[in-house]
Amino acid sequence: MRVRKESENILGHEVANSRIDSWWWLVAAVIVIVILLAILQPDPYWRIIRFVSDGVLVTVGVTLTAFVLTLVIGLLAALGRLSKIGFIRWATTIYVEVARGIPLLVQLLFWYFAFPSLIQGFGRLIHFQPLERYLANPFAMAILGLTFCYSAYMSEIYRAGIQSIPKGQNEAARSLGMTHNQAMRHIILPQAFKVVLPPLGNEFISLLKDSSLVSTVSVADMTRRGREFMAANFIPVETWLMIALLYLVMTLISARIVSWIERKTQTEDR
């Protein structure tokens, strides 16, 4: 069993190694295309880039904020699903199933349009002024929606990682007198975290792409700014080509970083 695992590691290692250079070329190629377009055809390409540049920051900001929250909440949900306490296990399982069972776009629409109405209704019910006049902040609702949905997926990744650690590790920790929480914190989670790093990175890339959905709930991200530009200039091909290229630059760079982390954790195992 051990031999097989090592050969798999070596195999994955070589694949990652041979891949890394060629795929950095792809990143470079896409960046070069963007730059060439901007220089050779400043109208409309450079205009598009300038117009959507604030949207780029919004996309990055929304993605990073939601991702950090997802890391924390996903872990809590995973621990909940592995809890010995029946109620906590039950509640977190329902959360994960519900959040994974509803399309992300529908969830975002719910948090932005429906949730504030519910809060206002509740405020009227208890005659509490601040709640009655509650207005949704698009950013907060978008991040809430992304976090709510992605934490459920993330919790499953964490759970798989925790369960991949051999039972003997927990037994050794407990036999030394550690409590469940101490064993988790000092023995299981540090090892599980290494296992889940690559899939966590892939979740980040998915989240980056899915963040374009927040354009439907009043957040002026890259996609929404692209639509605004198109509405004003009527050049769909150029606009969406440039938007697509900009997303591609971001996701390709992220993928390189994930692959780098993957290789690093694999070599450290030895």
């Binding site: 051999p166 003997g168 590790q169 037994e171 050794a172 920790a173 407990r174 036999s175 030394l176 007198g177 550690m178 409590t179 101490q182 000092h186 023995i187 540090p190 090892q191 290494k194 195992d269 030895r270």
Partner: protein
């Protein structure tokens, strides 16, 4: 021998689903005693060992360790800090260095300062004969070295009792002796030990008592020399004829 047993087990029953593992085991272990448990695989010897620090829950019976009954979670943790356990597959923490493997529980459970824990750990690594490996990681060690680190890790908690669950079964033959030597020395120092092992040489040299288990029951127990040379039970004779 001391009259008060440090481990008292009475009428212990344990089953995994439909399969019975222990069918009413009674055994007492006295302070400073070394007990070796032998028996065919599936006889319940490892399960019995794992019930002593409650890594395995049991359905009926009493286990009392150092006057603490294994009942509440609090008691179980208190008992575990008094019992060191060594596993067949070592179960060292692969993400921690050898030194950290030996200090982590001291710091987390015994609340010792870092410098105190390191001092204890270095002394124990010296004792098991691998002080030079303190900064290596478990993956860089041989099986025999890993198992000696595991013994040091357990001893760092200053246990009153050490449990060994087939400590040499996963080792290459040339590494068995280095682990047995450490165990022999521990026995000589008066550590109370319960050892599941078929190492007859170790049993003859160190054990006060050898116990043969089969089908979840204790079949026969005696001084190792007597049990191995003149077993009275047919089942003991049959088992010994296969392994000797």
């Amino acid at each position: 021998m001391n009259t008060e047993p440090i481990i008292h087990i009475e009428n212990l029953h344990k089953h995994f689903g439909e399969t019975a593992a222990l069918n009413g085991v009674d055994i007492d272990v006295y302070p400073g005693e070394v007990v070796v448990i032998i028996g065919p695989s599936g006889s319940g010897k490892s399960t019995l060992l794992r019930c002593i620090n409650r890594l395995e829950a049991f359905q009926a019976g009493t286990v009392v360790v150092d006057n603490i009954p294994l009942t509440t979670a609090e008691n179980i943790n208190a008992v575990r800090t008094e019992i060191g356990m060594v596993f067949q597959s070592f179960n060292l923490f692969p993400h921690l260095s050898v030194l950290e493997n030996v200090t982590i529980a001291q710091k987390v459970v015994r609340k010792r300062s870092k410098s105190e824990a390191v001092e204890v750990a270095l002394a124990l690594l010296e004792k098991v004969g691998i002080p030079e490996k303190a900064n290596d990681f478990p993956g860089q060690l041989s099986g025999g070295q890993q198992q000696r680190v595991a013994i040091a890790r357990a001893l760092a908690m200053n246990p009153k009792i050490m449990l060994f669950d087939e400590p040499t079964s996963a080792l290459d033959p040339e590494m068995i002796q280095e682990v047995l030597d450490v165990m022999l020395q521990l026995a000589k120092e008066g550590m109370t030990m319960v050892v599941v092992s078929h190492e007859m040489g170790f049993a003859r040299a160190a054990a006060d008592r050898a116990v043969l288990m089969d089908e979840g029951l204790i079949v026969e127990e005696d001084v190792p020399d007597v049990l191995f040379s003149h077993p009275t039970q047919e089942r003991t004779q049959a088992f010994l004829s296969k392994i000797l």
